[in-house]
């Protein structure tokens, strides 16, 4: 029997959504100050309006729904799902006001793409976008990568009055706390991210300066390129993405941060505390260390068969970069979108799609099915084979190392396969819709996989000329993929219970 949620349950959800939105609004001050610093007065007004609207909505929700209580897991998931959707609508306001989007839906698409660290974009005339708008585009990725709730939990919003911190934190597809206290976990995520930001600026600024870029542009580009690489986002401040720099050095540095971003924060914590043995023992980095080289090899063979590149350097540079970009869920590219489908050939495209689908680590900034679930599926497969071979009375126990020794339970297998299946079904459903609009099967599946796994590589389907229903489906895919389905499932469940429950 479905239990109809009480009005109070919705009020609690609204209250915490309001608190999180105040956090989003406060972060919008960063592009506002950027606009003031660079005397971009029109953009400053856009962000002033955006800050005021977002914080006002947050205050209104907190004021009119003052109820605070202990939050259940389901409520935590719903709060996160609704906050992400509201953040998209409010975060899109300054983007739309900038005049670089054809309509508000396109601005919403980019806002969700930013928060979900996808990287697909519908921005117009990106080469003439202001510094403040670029700052906001990349900051959405930084916030989304760490988690909007983490942003609020760590610095800005005190979720007092209830013990809902962990429920909200885990609603953003975080499997576990890095440290026992959720606030300290959120703070550690920020410490590690800001440390890498400093390293990113120190590495990328000189690289851009050597290219002849001015100091200001080098500094700004280093912040933006780092944010989108570390948060496995894929936005760039120029229309050619990373191809703009024509630089192998920039490609190597961004690859380093892409790989860093796709490792879990738990692993970063272990490395931070000198437990380097986790790199060789933990099932996630081991899984990534197996799947990335295998898929790189398949991709290179595919490119060789298609005779896409004549020399080894081109083959290696393009193949490795895009495969790593796909597997880590970043979406940085040094190719034009059309080149994938026109030049790469079926095998290389397939390897890239599989890499996008597999994604990075659980509790990282990356999207996709995740290395932990891939490892669980692999272990479960061989466990079943062992069961078949061994006598019926034999008890087959499989363990794996994920920060500690864990048993492969049926519950874990079931949950992993549920998410696995949900990703596959969503990828094909999105592809089917695009095919209905006349796009080829390969391009449709490539783009849909890119959206749901929050990657951002594009075969050219994402453009301002794409039909609005397809655009809405991609927004939905980015949202549902980033929250790993559970938040959206919980929201759907709560809505159904409100309607059909007793």
């Amino acid at each position: 029997m479905l239990l109809r949620p009480l009005a109070r349950d919705w009020h609690v959800i609204a209250h915490y959504c309001g608190r999180l939105l105040i956090g989003v609004g406060v972060f919008m001050l960063v592009p506002l100050f950027t606009a003031i610093l660079f005397a971009e007065w029109n953009s400053a007004l856009d962000f002033l309006f955006g800050v005021a609207a977002t914080v006002a909505v947050g205050f209104a929700l907190v004021t009119f729904f003052p109820e605070t209580a202990d939050i259940t897991t389901a409520q935590g998931l719903v709060i996160v799902a609704l906050t992400w959707m509201a953040a998209m609508f409010l975060g899109a306001i300054p983007l739309y006001m900038s005049g670089h989007y054809l309509n508000y839906l396109d601005a919403c698409f980019d806002a969700m793409s930013g928060f979900a660290t996808t990287g697909l974009t519908l921005v117009q005339d990106l080469d003439h976008v202001s510094n403040s708008v670029n700052m906001w585009r990349h900051l959405t990725m930084f916030m989304g990568g760490q988690g909007i709730a983490v942003v609020a939990l760590s610095m800005l919003v005190r979720l007092s009055g209830g013990g809902g911190g962990f429920e909200i934190y885990s609603g953003e597809a975080r499997e576990e706390k890095v440290v026992p206290n959720v606030i300290r976990t959120a703070r550690f995520i920020w410490i590690i991210s800001l440390t890498y930001l400093a390293i990113g600026i120190l590495l990328l600024t000189p690289a851009f300066l050597l290219e002849g870029m001015s100091f200001t542009r080098s500094f700004l580009h280093s912040i933006w390129i780092f944010m989108a690489a570390w948060d496995t986002g894929g936005f760039a401040p120029n229309s050619q993405n990373v191809l703009f720099y024509h630089s192998g050095v920039v490609e190597v540095i961004t690859m380093f941060f892409m790989i860093g971003g796709c490792l879990s924060f738990g692993l970063h914590y272990a490395l931070w505390h000198g437990r380097t043995d986790e790199l060789g023992k933990n099932v996630e980095p081991v899984s990534l260390a197996i799947t990335i080289p295998i898929l790189v090899l398949i991709c290179l063979v595919g490119l060789e068969i298609a005779a896409t590149y004549s020399g080894f350097e081109q083959l290696f540079r393009k193949g490795v970069y895009h495969l790593v970009s796909a597997h880590t869920g970043t979406g940085y590219q040094t190719l034009y979108p059309g080149q994938f489908s026109l030049e790469w050939g079926g095998l290389a495209m397939m390897a890239t799609m599989i890499a996008m689908g597999l994604g990075g680590s659980a509790s990282s900034t990356a999207g996709g099915i995740k290395a932990l679930r891939v490892a669980v599926a692999y272990k479960a497969f061989f466990q079943e084979i062992k069961r078949l071979i061994r006598p019926q009375s034999a008890v087959t126990v499989t363990t794996f190392h994920h920060f500690s020794r864990r048993f492969l339970s049926d519950t874990l297998i079931r949950t992993s396969l549920l998410i696995f299946t949900a990703y596959i079904v969503t990828m094909f459903a999105g592809a089917a819709l695009a095919m209905g609009y006349g796009y080829s099967f390969t391009d449709s599946l490539f783009e849909s996989t890119s959206a749901v796994a929050n990657v951002g590589l594009s075969a050219g389907v994402t453009s301002t000329s794409m039909p609005n229903p397809l655009e809405i489906v991609y927004i939905f895919e980015m949202w549902i993929g980033r929250l790993e389905f559970l938040g959206v499932f919980a929201l759907a469940g709560l809505l159904i219970a409100s309607w059909r429950g007793k």
């Binding site: 007004l45 005021a52 290219e211 002849g212 870029m213 191809l243 024509h246 083959l315």
Partner: protein
């Protein structure tokens, strides 16, 4: 009879006279026609020579290849000398004696590999505050450049500055000012309301505590 005889003679004389006149007229006409033909021929030769020399100085209109065609038909166009026009954006990315200048034709930006002397002639690059110089590039198109890690680019043999770049102005919108003021007023009102409710809640909580 007497009367008729002179008349006849007169007619004869007249005919003789007319014939003479007619002969002269034909000659004159032929002369005029020849003169006109000669003058026309001279004029034609002179004008041909003049226009031919002018035409020799001007080039035939260049066939531009847009970026969408370069990307869409990259395999067919690979290695061909193409003409491309667009706005120089960002900055010249220097590599020793050469530089990459990314050039946007409105659909995509293509990297142009050119000498530093050519990139030095570009005075303005496009960004938020500037519209960059419009340049025309003639050069060899590479689908996957062997020299530059497989990038799609053009190695320029000739770079022309067509239109100098300009400063872009962004006049502050009055409607945005009004909208921002209204939003700030709403924010202030909601903030005050929030603070008031918070204070009253704290007050009632402390009263309950004393009771």
């Amino acid at each position: 009879m007497k009367r008729n005889a002179p008349r006849k003679r007169t007619v004869q004389n007249r005919e003789t006279f007319n014939l003479r006149q007619h002969g002269l007229g034909v000659l004159a006409a032929v002369g005029y026609a020849s003169l006109i033909i000669v003058i026309s021929a001279i004029l034609a030769i002179v004008s041909y020579l003049v226009f031919a020399s002018v035409a020799q100085g001007a080039e035939a209109p260049a066939t531009l290849t847009p970026s969408t065609q370069m990307i869409g038909q990259a395999k067919q166009l690979d290695g061909q000398v193409l003409v491309y026009e667009g706005e120089a954006i960002g900055e010249a990315l220097e590599r020793g004696r050469f530089a990459f200048v990314n050039t946007n034709d409105g659909s995509n930006a293509i990297g142009i590999w050119m000498s530093k002397s050519d990139s030095g002639r570009i005075s303005t690059f496009g960004d938020y505050d500037h519209t960059g110089d419009k340049i025309r590039v003639t050069g060899e198109f590479h689908r996957a450049c062997a020299e530059h890690g497989g990038d799609l680019d053009i190695h320029a043999s000739k770079v022309e500055i067509l239109i100098a770049g300009t400063v872009r102005t962004h006049p502050v919108s009055v409607s945005k000012i009004i909208a921002s003021v209204i939003a700030l007023a709403v924010l202030a009102a909601s903030g005050l309301l929030y603070q008031r409710r918070k204070n009253s809640k704290a007050k009632s909580a402390s009263q309950e505590h004393w009771d």
